[in-house]
């Protein structure tokens, strides 16, 4: 097995690994109880999965076609930078829009700070069918 072939295999396995992680994260997205925990599953695992996958693809093209794809690198960087921010924003939004924590979560210390203990915020946005308006 030449180095090239080994690298190819590494790439393929990275991709496979990524796909497995992605399925796990999807499972997590289904199984976990509330939006915050699901966000955890989504942003961490799926970022990880996609990075692995893109890295695999990068290596593959590099090795097989001898093609160093700047776009792929850019893509990796981009996902790497933005994914956490996106996860952060969405969780914050969820929190500010009063999405309740799951049963059995620890104490919510931010609540009194943000909402002054009232727990009411005038968001006009529909969060959940049936509850809005």
């Amino acid at each position: 097995m030449s180095v090239k072939e080994i690298l190819e295999w590494v790439a393929v396995l990275l991709i496979l690994f990524g796909s497995i992680v992605s399925v796990i994260s999807a499972l997590g997205l289904i199984k976990l109880p509330d939006v915050y925990t699901r966000s955890h599953a989504a942003s961490k695992s799926s970022t990880f999965a996609v990075l692995a996958c893109l890295l695999g693809a990068f290596i593959y093209f590099w090795v097989v076609d001898g093609y160093v794809s700047i776009r792929l690198i850019l893509g990796i960087i981009f996902v790497f930078i933005t994914s956490p921010v996106a996860g952060h924003l969405i969780c914050r939004a969820a929190y500010r829009a009063n999405v309740p924590l799951a049963e059995g979560s620890g104490e919510d210390e931010l609540k009194p700070v943000l909402f002054g203990g009232e727990g009411v915020v005038g968001s006009s946005v529909d969060l959940e069918e049936g509850t809005e308006k």
Binding site: V12, A42, V50, A86, I90
Partner: protein, 94 residues
Amino acid sequence: MKETILLLALILFMVAIALVLYRVIVGPTMPDRAIALDTIGVNLISSIAIVSIILSTTAFLEAILILGILAFIGTIAFSKYIERGVIVERKGDS
């Protein structure tokens, strides 16, 4: 062999998308759906990468980057929508 593994990986990604679709449909809250859509986008990125390998073409690599960008913009838009009901604000610090 490598082909098979790649196909398997692709199938797994598709399964993941299908699973996440459940979250998009069921919810129950808006942020849930937003997160799920984001995840679908990210999974699509991976899938496109794999398809590129299978088709042995680099034509789709732009799509990967664009999808990344859009998933990001989309998520931001969503989060603003959820948070404030408005996506583009008229004035600063409103």
